[in-house]
Structures are given as structure tokens and as C-alpha cells.
């Protein structure tokens, strides 16, 4: 018996991509602009979300989906305390969110009442880059103490970004961090990437990010 070759030519993660497209459609039906936030553990994802909520809560309703590898609700509790709806997704040890997990989270949020959805991915610079979720923009928070060599060591995550946040700029005097070296690495991976250096602790630089985000939400609504 001889083997027969059957051509397939299909992306390995095509099932995830299909689910991501469904997520995108659901978000668009509800006029929800969505952001996928990625970063290493401890880069300040939750602080950044809390800062964003603080600056936007007068004008926009924000919903948050928190991805974590363990069944904890530490992050979701902080968001709910800040007055916004939040859902915690436990990935059961997986190192990233997948589109199907986001789909489950979306079902638990009052999408009709939400203007902006923030998805906090699992803290990891490798895996989240490969799994498209269906959100409108991909954002990475790179914090100063992580070091200036990260774009060179984790190229994949930088390539798919729409916006980059450099957090903890208030710590620059205390650590060895050459921002020019960092930005050159980013430029090679993602030329012209819009970047906001800021400090969630002091609030410095946060306004520029908020203005940009408001503009994105406006453009999204006008484009519909």
C-alpha cells in the first residue's frame, strides 16, 4: 500500500484566527474599540490600566478582561474597585490568551454599555505574539528596569505592535538603560511605531497616551 499525498496548505493556527475574526465582529457590532495589552510579568500592565481608567472614566466606559495563568482575581478586583466591569480568565496554566478564551470573556461583559475593552494578556513576551485575539490594536508595555535589549531578544512580539508604552521612566536614573539602543531595536522590527514613554507611578507622560487613545476611539467610531 502506498501513501497518498494530500495537499492542505493551511495555517496551523487557522482555527484561532477564525475565532478571532468572530470576536472582532462581535466587538464591532457593539461599537467596542478594543486593545490587547501584552508585557512581561511586572511591567505594570494593571497599573497602566488603572491609570487609563482614571483618565477616561468621565468620558468613556471601559471594560477589562484579565488573563492569568492561575485562578486568582487580584487584578480583576482592582479594576472592579475602580468602578469598571472586569472579568478574570484563568488560562489553566497556559502561557497566553487564545481567541476562544477571549470569546468566553466577551460573553460575560455588558458589551452594549462599553466603549473601550482592554484585554490584559498573560505576562509573557513570547507566546501572546502568536495568538491573534481579534482586538483592534496590539499594545506592548516595556518597562525600563527590564533592560534596553528586549527588542533584540523578543523580536516577534515587537513586530505585531500598533503602539508601544515605555513604562517606569521615573526609574531611568537608577538603572542602566540606553533608550537610544532600545529604540533602534524597535525601529528595525517595527519602523515608525508610535511610542509613549511614561510613568504610571508619577503620571508623567500619561496625558499624551490618553490623547492618542481618545483620537483612536474617535477615528474608530467615524470609520464605522
Amino acid at each position: 500500500m502506498s501513501a497518498i499525498r494530500v495537499p492542505v496548505v493551511e495555517k496551523i493556527l487557522s482555527a484561532n484566527d477564525r475565532m478571532a475574526n468572530e470576536n472582532r465582529n462581535l466587538l464591532n457590532e457593539n461599537n467596542v474599540f478594543s486593545i490587547n495589552i501584552m508585557a512581561s510579568p511586572g511591567a505594570g500592565k494593571t497599573s497602566f490600566i488603572l491609570q487609563t481608567i482614571k483618565h477616561l472614566s468621565d468620558s468613556l466606559k471601559i471594560g477589562v478582561i484579565e488573563g492569568d495563568t492561575a485562578p486568582v482575581t487580584i487584578d480583576a478586583d482592582k479594576i472592579i474597585k475602580a468602578g469598571m466591569p472586569a472579568v478574570q480568565i484563568n488560562t489553566g496554566g497556559d502561557c497566553h490568551l487564545e481567541a476562544a478564551m477571549l470569546s468566553d470573556g466577551l460573553k460575560q461583559l455588558p458589551l452594549k454599555e462599553i466603549d473601550v475593552l482592554i484585554v490584559e494578556n498573560v505576562g509573557n513576551l513570547i507566546c501572546p505574539a502568536a495568538w491573534y485575539l481579534g482586538t483592534h490594536i496590539n499594545l506592548l508595555i516595556a518597562s525600563v528596569p527590564e533592560g534596553d535589549d528586549k527588542p533584540y531578544k523578543y523580536p516577534n512580539i515587537y513586530r505585531g505592535l500598533d503602539v508601544l508604552i515605555i513604562n517606569k521612566t521615573d526609574l531611568t536614573p537608577y538603572v542602566e538603560y540606553n533608550i537610544d539602543y532600545f529604540r533602534k531595536g524597535v525601529e528595525l522590527l517595527n519602523p515608525g511605531l508610535i511610542t509613549f514613554p511614561l510613568s504610571c507611578r508619577t503620571g508623567e507622560g500619561v496625558d499624551a497616551w490618553i490623547d492618542w487613545l481618545k483620537e483612536q476611539v474617535n477615528q474608530y467610531r467615524q470609520g464605522k
Binding site: I4, V6, C127
Partner: protein, 120 residues
Amino acid sequence: MHELSVTENILSLALENAQKNNATKVTSINLVIGQLSSIVDDSVQFYWDTISEGTICFGAKLNFQRVPAMLKCQDCEEEYKIASQLIPCPKCGSYRAVIIKGEEFYLDSIEIEKDSEELQ
């Protein structure tokens, strides 16, 4: 990185296409993986042996065709290969490059066996 999820996706794609073609056994899985798609072949093989057990894919050989990364400079149009890390254009030094090869991540084909009656 996330080889288990990746392997599960490969298995479900392979089974779907095997069933469509009335296969009785899958003997080979031919994957095309670009240099920039980080995945560890040995881990995929390890998970494969575990999760394909009890299916017609069990025992299939996984073949990885690796595609080297190729960049094209947006300023001088030079096309260049890279080793492990992205580098500026070796000809003009520009940082404005696009990746033209090396991001492939797909199941190219499977090799299957069928019942002899069906072949006729």
C-alpha cells in the same frame, strides 16, 4: 513556547483533512515553519506522540521544512539573510526593512493510506 497548543492545532487540521479523504492511516505530516516562527521541533514531536495516540495519526512522521528569514531594505532594496537576530541593511545601514520570508507557519500536506478497495 506553546508547543502543546500548536501541536493540538496540527493534529486537528491533520485529522480533519484525513477524514475528508477517507484515510485509514496518516503516515506523514509536512509542516513549513519559517525561521522567525519560534517553535521547538522536538517538543512538537514529544507532544505529538502523546496526543495522537488512539487516532489514525498515531505514528505519523513529522517533517519540518524550515524557511530561512529574508529581509528587504526599503531604502536600497537590498535583499538579505539574517542569522539569529534582525540586523540593519548590510549594504546601506538602513533600519527600514520588511520581512519577505521566514514567518511561514502552516501545514503543507499530509500523507495518508486508504483501504485498497477505495483506491480502485
